[in-house]
């Protein structure tokens, strides 16, 4: 049987004894700040800060003057961490570094997944996909890849080489490429020169569209 006073007891808010609100909240806020810094660091390892944009409102964006750019939307990243009451009561201070490390690693993993899945989407749309199997070998696929991509130009007007992100040991891949005959190397160099020249020409054309074009 439940009496009225039992019900009142159950519904009454829990009593607290010395909340120490300022201290607890300061620690929790410092942890959030540290995680934010780690998240920024995780993103900057994949994307240069220069190419990272920050939005305040809304949930999606579009590039209205670039027909090739795909419209994007914010993706939520979340990490779950359970701290049993028992661990807090036992005063296990390693909880804090463990929580920070776990959260940071999980954010890095999620950021990587997001970046590569976005690249995957774009290449699927543009057909910029190269298959080692179809090309016959990794060096042949590499050459085909170089032929398909466009080089960029940095803010100083210098042609920039593409970044290569690998899922396997890059040393092994580099060794395989370096072991190719001189004709192969010459071909790579020729494509690089052509791509760089094309990138600089495209940059010049882009700049010439300003009212007072600066070369």
């Amino acid at each position: 049987m439940t009496t009225e006073s039992d019900k009142a007891k159950k519904s009454a808010p829990r009593r607290e004894y010395f909340e120490l609100e300022a201290e607890s909240q300061a620690i929790n806020s410092s942890i959030v700040e540290m995680l934010q810094a780690l998240q920024r660091q995780a993103i900057s390892q994949k994307l240069p800060e220069d190419n990272t944009l920050h939005y305040t409102h809304g949930k999606k964006w579009s590039n209205r003057t670039n027909p090739h750019a795909i419209d994007g939307g914010f993706q939520e990243h979340s990490v779950e961490w359970r701290t049993p009451f028992k661990d807090l009561v036992e005063g296990d201070l390693t909880l804090i570094p463990r929580f920070i490390q776990h959260t940071s690693e999980e954010f890095q993993r999620q950021v990587s997944t997001m970046i590569y899945s976005s690249i995957d989407k774009v290449t699927a749309m543009t057909g910029n996909i190269v298959s080692v199997k179809e090309a016959g070998s990794f060096p042949a696929a590499f050459l085909e890849m170089l032929g398909k991509i466009e080089f960029g130009v940095d803010k100083q007007g210098n042609a920039s080489m593409p970044e290569i992100h690998t899922g396997t040991d890059p040393k092994k891949m580099i060794a395989e490429l370096e072991a190719q005959p001189p004709e192969y190397q010459a071909k790579v160099e020729r494509i690089k020169s052509e791509k760089m020249a094309a990138a600089l020409a495209a940059e010049a054309a882009r700049k010439s569209k300003f009212k007072v074009g600066k070369q």
Binding site: R14, E16, Y17, E19, L20, S24, Q25, S29, V89, I96
Partner: protein, 603 residues
């Protein structure tokens, strides 16, 4: 320290040229009646004067008496309602015998008043003039004596509120002068000025009066301040109680005491006023505290009241009596909290986790535990002061300690140097109550935690934003780059060693003391517990020790321990007040509680 008000209202003009007025005396009387009240302006009713249509000689004579025969004035407020006139020299207040054709000699010149203020040097002067052309008083500012206008430190502060511009009339309505009405609205709270501080100054009131008057048309008040280098008190802030939530949103006893202290200084010679002001300032907060989830906020607010009154206990039996009354109130509340805690710990093993604690609880739980047992231990010591220690609820205290030892053994640890007074109060009370086993268990757990961290505990004054750094350094056992976070010397480790001596645990401690080699210890021992609630307690001595350099055993500390540390204040209200002060300002330890005493079980 005195606050004096001179209110002048002149309705009657005997000489030719000036018409009688209807409401000037009424206005002066209303202002006087409001400000003279203890809980409003708190001006001295004996030294203050209300003049209704005085002559020039009457006013001059009385002013001399007020300014030069009452000793140093803290605050002088002069209010004038009547005809005002201005010429190229300055502004004049017209009195009963003022002649229009000779007003520069028959009216009371503001320049004369300013000269007298420069001579008498009250710390703060407020001048309010509700008269036509009163804005002409700015002309007088050009001729004020150098001691007023220099702006040097210590030069008297002057704030002037003129209700009409130099070329304007001061308007009167049936309900009084519109300027005075607006002023009274601010004083009584009908007009909102601000809610951040407990007192209002004339400058902020003047700005609100200026904002309100244009609605009546044709009158533009001006506020002028000279040398206002510190916050002055014109009257209490009727809206301050409404800001109780601000006081609690970031509850800090020191900040709260900082609000009360300056107000009490003005009442230092009146014990009844001291008590009345403390009650007035805290009534609203106590009501709110009763409704909070944090069950210890209410006794904390009461403890701040004691902290505010402690410096006056030595001088006034009335204050002593009130402090004893507050001590009993705190003891009653803490006994009730002990009942609640005993009930809650039985029902929920994790009751000491806070609703917004999170990782912060790793730091907070150890502090929470020592605070709880410390406040309850203090309750026992207060009961001794009150002579009612026989009714202390030993059974509940024992049960609570047993629960804590069983459920929170690893959280019974030292995190911060602020835990010292709580441990001293808790373990000395447990010892005297015969709870030796519980006291020994708790002291062992605390000492073990100190050994685990090699005596590295957080400084008493560490900024909250640095607490995470402290916890990370502590978990990594590396403080090489953050030594500023660490208490050096530590007062809490001294408390542990003293407790070991009182509880007879020397052997246990002596075996491990080598692990704390080079740790610096301190014990601040005051020579005046009356000043024990101040931010910085003056006088006394910091008795310093270093483990491994003169201290190799607990008995070495006993041998070097200053005798005066054991001396309890003879005045019981000061003794209780010192104990309470250490609970809200835990960077001080009332060492006298750790003096050898007879255990209850042995008595």
């Amino acid at each position: 320290v005195k606050r004096v008000l001179i209110a002048i209202g002149c309705n009657n003009y005997d000489r030719d040229g000036l018409d009688d007025l209807a409401g000037a005396e009424f206005d002066a009387k209303r202002v006087y009646d409001q400000l003279i009240q203890l809980n409003v302006g708190n001006y001295d009713p004996i030294g203050s004067r209300l003049f209704l249509s005085p002559t020039l000689d009457e006013l001059r004579g009385a002013l001399n008496g007020v300014l030069f025969e009452q000793g140093k004035l803290d605050t002088l407020t002069v209010y004038f309602a009547g005809h005002g006139l201005v010429n190229s020299v300055g502004f004049y207040m017209c009195l009963r015998d003022t002649r229009l054709g000779q007003f520069s000699t028959s009216a009371f010149g503001l320049g004369v008043l300013l000269s007298q203020i420069a001579e008498a040097q009250p710390a703060q002067t407020n001048i309010i003039i509700d008269a036509c052309c009163s804005g002409g008083l700015t002309a007088d500012l050009g001729i004020v004596p150098k001691s007023v206008s220099s702006g040097d430190a210590g030069s008297p502060a002057v704030t002037l509120l003129a209700m009409a511009a130099r070329d304007q009339s001061a308007i009167e309505e049936d309900a009084g002068g519109v300027g005075t009405n607006a002023l009274l609205d601010c004083i009584t709270g009908r007009a909102f000025v601000q809610e951040a501080t407990s007192a209002l100054n004339l400058t902020e009131i003047g700005h609100v009066v200026a904002d309100r008057l244009p609605k009546h048309g044709g009158q533009s008040p001006t506020v002028t301040s000279l040398n206002v280098h510190q916050r002055s008190i014109f009257c209490r802030n009727p809206h301050y109680q409404a800001s109780g939530s601000n006081a609690f949103s970031k509850w800090d006893p020191r900040t709260f005491l900082d609000v009360i202290d300056p107000i009490l200084v003005s009442h230092a010679d009146s014990p009844a006023d001291l008590i009345a002001n403390v009650e007035r300032l805290t009534d609203g907060l106590l009501t709110r505290a009763k409704g909070l989830l944090d069950r210890f906020r209410e006794p904390e607010v009461l403890a701040v009241c004691i902290g505010a009154l402690l410096p006056f206990c030595g001088a006034y039996p009335l204050v002593q009596k009130h402090v004893m009354h507050l001590l009993q109130k705190i003891s009653d509340i803490v006994r009730n909290r002990l009942d609640e805690l005993t009930e809650d710990t039985k029902a929920n093993k994790y009751v000491l986790l806070c609703r917004f604690g999170g990782m912060g609880d790793l730091y907070a739980i150890p502090l929470r535990i020592t605070k709880i047992i410390g406040w309850i231990g203090a309750c026992y010591h207060i009961d001794k002061v009150l002579g009612r220690e026989d009714s202390f609820p030993i059974k509940q205290y024992t049960e609570l300690m047993d629960h804590l030892i069983a459920d929170y053994p690893l959280s019974i640890s030292i995190m911060s140097d602020t835990q010292g007074p709580y441990i001293a109060l808790a373990l000395s009370a447990a010892h005297e109550l015969g709870l030796q086993s519980q006291a020994e268990d708790i002291l062992s757990l605390l000492f073990r935690s100190v050994l685990r961290t090699k005596g590295v505990i957080a400084d008493s004054h560490i900024e909250p934003k640095l607490l995470l750094n402290y916890l990370i350094c502590r978990s990594l056992e590396d403080f090489s780059n953050d030594l500023s976070l660490v208490a050096r010397p530590s007062e809490t480790i001294t408390v542990l060693l003293r407790c070991a001596s009182v509880l007879g645990m020397n052997d246990v401690f002596d075996d491990a003391l080598q692990d704390l080699d080079h740790i610096a210890l301190n014990a601040y021992i005051t020579d005046d517990y009356g000043g024990y609630s101040k931010r910085y307690v003056e006088g006394g001595e910091n008795a310093s020790f270093v483990i491994g350099h003169g201290i190799w055993r607990v008995s070495d500390l006993d041998a070097a321990w200053p005798e005066e540390a054991a001396q309890r204040p003879a005045n019981l209200s000061i003794q209780g007040g010192a104990i309470i002060s250490s609970l809200i300002f835990p960077d001080r330890v009332p060492w006298f509680v750790l003096a050898p005493s007879v255990r209850k079980s042995e008595a």
